[in-house]
C-alpha cells in the first residue's frame, strides 16, 4: 500500500472508530454523575483513546510538519539522487525567495506577492472586524433572543456549503453576466458590466465572507459576558455611544478581538479558494505560489521553504500586533 493511501485511510479509520465508540457509549446510557475519563471509558478503551489521539497528533500533525522542515533544507533532486552526494543541507530554498536562482536578480515577483498577501490579509481582517463588531455587539447585547437566533442561523447556514462551492456562488453573483451586474445595469447605474472579478472585488468579498464566522464568534463570546450594567453606567455618567464603545466595550472585548483577528488573518493569508476563483487573472497570491510549487512544479523543498516563510511572517506579524495592542498571547488564544 502506498504511503499516500495510508495517510488518507488512517484518519478515516480513526473517525469511524470514534464514532462507533460514541454510539456504544450512548447505548450504555449516560450517568448523570460526572466520572473521570478512565472511569467512564474503562482502562482498555481509555488507553485506546489516548493512544489514538497521541497517534493522531504525532503522526498526522507533528511528523508531516517536521518532514516539511527537513525537506525545506534540501536541494530539489529527482528521486534517484536523493540521499546521494548531491543531497546536502542547504538554505538555497529560502534564499531563492529573495534572489532568483536562475538569473541572480531580485525575486521581485514572489516578494511582491508575499507583501501583497500580507497586506490584503491584514486589510481583510480589519474589514471583517468592522463588519463583525457591530453584528456581534447587537447579538450579544441588544438583540431579542428570537432575532439573534435568526441572525445566527443566517450566518451559519451558508457555511454548511463547501468552501469552493461558496467561492463559485460568489463568482456567479459577481460575474459580468451575474445577478449584481444585471441588477446594476437594470436600474441604469452602469451601462457596461463592471469587472468585479478582474479588479479583485470578488477576492476581497470572498476572503471577507469566508472568515466572517471566525471573527464573529470570539467577538460575540467576549461581548456577551460584559455586564449590561457597565454599559448603562457609562451612559448614565454622560458618555455618548461611541465613547461607551471606546472606553468600556472594546477594552473589555480586546482578548476576543485579538483572537478573532489572529485567526482571520492567519486563515486569510493561507486561503486558496477565494484568490484563485475570485481574484483577477494577474493577481499573484502567495499561497497559490506555494501550492503550485507542490502540485505543479513538484518542487517540494522550495514549496516547504516558502510555506515556512509565510508562517514565520504571519506569526511575527500577529505577535507584533498583539504587542502593539497590549494583549497577552494567552488571552488571545483562549
Amino acid at each position: 500500500m502506498s504511503s499516500r493511501a495510508l495517510a488518507f485511510l488512517v484518519p478515516a479509520i480513526v473517525i469511524l472508530a470514534f464514532w462507533l465508540m460514541s454510539r456504544w457509549e450512548a447505548r450504555q446510557g449516560h450517568d448523570p454523575t460526572h466520572k473521570s475519563f478512565f472511569e467512564r471509558n474503562g482502562t482498555v478503551l481509555g488507553i485506546a483513546f489516548v493512544g489514538l489521539v497521541a497517534f493522531w497528533t504525532l503522526f498526522l500533525v507533528t511528523l508531516p510538519y517536521l518532514y516539511m522542515v527537513v525537506e525545506s533544507f534540501h536541494p530539489r533532486l529527482p528521486p534517484a539522487k536523493r540521499g546521494g552526494p548531491e543531497d546536502i543541507a542547504t538554505i538555497a530554498q529560502y534564499t531563492s525567495f529573495f534572489v532568483n536562482p536562475t538569473d541572480g536578480a531580485w525575486n521581485t515577483t514572489h516578494m511582491y506577492a508575499f507583501v501583497y498577501t500580507i497586506v490584503v490579509s491584514a486589510a481583510v481582517t480589519f474589514i471583517n472586524l468592522c463588519i463583525c463588531y457591530p453584528l456581534a455587539y447587537y447579538m450579544a447585547q441588544s438583540g431579542t433572543t428570537q432575532k439573534v437566533r435568526l441572525l445566527m442561523l443566517g450566518l451559519i447556514v451558508p457555511y454548511w456549503v463547501n468552501e469552493i462551492l461558496r467561492a463559485f456562488s460568489i463568482r456567479l453573483l459577481l460575474a459580468s453576466k451575474g445577478l449584481i451586474n444585471q441588477g446594476l445595469m437594470g436600474i441604469g447605474i452602469t451601462d457596461a458590466p463592471i469587472d468585479f472579478l478582474g479588479n479583485n472585488t470578488g477576492m476581497w468579498v470572498g476572503l471577507s465572507y469566508a472568515n466572517l464566522l471566525i471573527m464573529i464568534f470570539p467577538l460575540y463570546n467576549a461581548i456577551e459576558s460584559l455586564d449590561k450594567n457597565q454599559i448603562e453606567a457609562a451612559r448614565d455618567l454622560g458618555a455618548p455611544w461611541w465613547k461607551i464603545h471606546r472606553d468600556v466595550v472594546i477594552p473589555y472585548a480586546k482578548p476576543g478581538i485579538a483572537s478573532g483577528c489572529t485567526m482571520v488573518f492567519m486563515l486569510a493569508a493561507g486561503s486558496l479558494a477565494a484568490p484563485l476563483f475570485l481574484g483577477g487573472p494577474r493577481t499573484l497570491w502567495f499561497t497559490s505560489i506555494v501550492y503550485d510549487f507542490f502540485f505543479q512544479a513538484f518542487n517540494w523543498p522550495r514549496g516547504s521553504a516558502y510555506a515556512f516563510i509565510l508562517l514565520a511572517a504571519c506569526i511575527a506579524f500577529v505577535m507584533f500586533m498583539l504587542r502593539l495592542f497590549k494583549v497577552k498571547l494567552g488571552e488571545a488564544i483562549r
Binding site: D236, L237, A239, Y252
Partner: protein
Amino acid sequence: MSAGVELDGVTVRFGNFTAVNNANLNIKGGEFFSFLGPSGCGKTTILRTVSGFLDPSAGHVRIGGQDMAGIGPNKRPTALIFQNLALFPLMSVADNITYGLRVRGLSRADRDKRATELLELIALPGQGQKLVSELSGGQKQRVAIARALAVEPQVLLLDEPLSALDLKLRQHMRNELRAIQQRVGITFIYITHDQGEALTMSDRIAVMSDGVIEQVADGKSVYDSPETAFVASFVGENNPFPGKVASASGDSAIIETPFGKLRGLNPKKLKAGDNAILFVRPESLKLGKGPDGSTFATPVLNAAFEGNMTHVFMKGAGKKNITVTVGRHGGTAIPASGENGTVHYDPALGLVLPEGKMARE
C-alpha cells in the same frame, strides 16, 4: 445643587405586564427618599424610569420642574448607583471615579484634582491607583458613590447598593450614606427591600407592592400608622386578626374576630359590616388579663428567648401564629407550652384596617 423629582401618573408596562401602576409622588429637593417593597414590586423599574433607561408608558417624570420626556440617561441631571455597582474593572479607582468627567472633556489635571477630593470624601485617600478588584466590598461601594457624585448630579439614585454587604458593613454604610447625603445636600432616592435601612436613613418612604405605591410617609408614620393591610404587614412584625366590623364609633371600631370582639383605632372610618383586619404589633401585646374588648386567650405554642426579650408564639386563627414580645423584666410569667395564655393590649395601639392584600411571609 439639588432638584426635586415629580412622578405624575407614571405607569410602566412590559408587554401586558404592568410593572409600575400610576405612581404619583413629589420628592423634594435635598430629601433622602426611599422606596421600600418586596422583590419584584417595581422598585428598580421606577428608578430606571427616573434615570431615563425606561420610558414611562403613561405619565411624566419631572426633575427640577422640567419634563424629562425624550431626554436620554446621559443628559439627565441624575446619577445611578447600580444594584451590582457596575464599576469598570479595567480602570483604576481614580479613573472609575472621574469617568463622567472624562467624557465631559475635563483635562487630566482637573480630573486628578477632583479624584483626590472625592477619594478624601469617601475616606479612601491615596488609593486612586488601585484596581477595583483590589478593593473590599465596602470600599467598592464607596467608589461607586464617588463615581456618581463626581458628575455633580442633582439627584442620586441608589438601587439597593448595600444588599451585597455583610450586616456589620451594611450598618456602617447606612450611617456613611446618610452623612454623605447631608454633606453634599442633593436629593437621594434610595431603593431597598430592607425596612431597617429605609427606616433609619430616610426622610420619607414610599412603600410599594406589585407596582402600586401603597403609602408615602416618614418612617415613624409608616410604622405607627400604616394605611393599608399590606403596609401594616410588610413594615415590622404585626399580628393580623381578620374579621368583620361589629360597630364603629368616634375614631375607634370593634371588630368580630375568631377570638371574640376586639377594639382598635379606625383611621379609615370603616362601617359596621365591612371586612376588616385588626393589627396589633407583638410589642403592644401583653400577657395577662386586661379590660374586656382588648383581651383574648389562646394556647401557647412555644417561646423563643432572645436575651433582651422573649418572643412567645401562640396559636392564631389561621396558619400564622400570634407573636407576643415580652421584655426582660416583664411582669406576668410565660405559660408553659400547650397551656392557654391570656393576652391583652391597649386599644389605642390596635389598628383596624380594610381587608386587603398582605405581605408574603
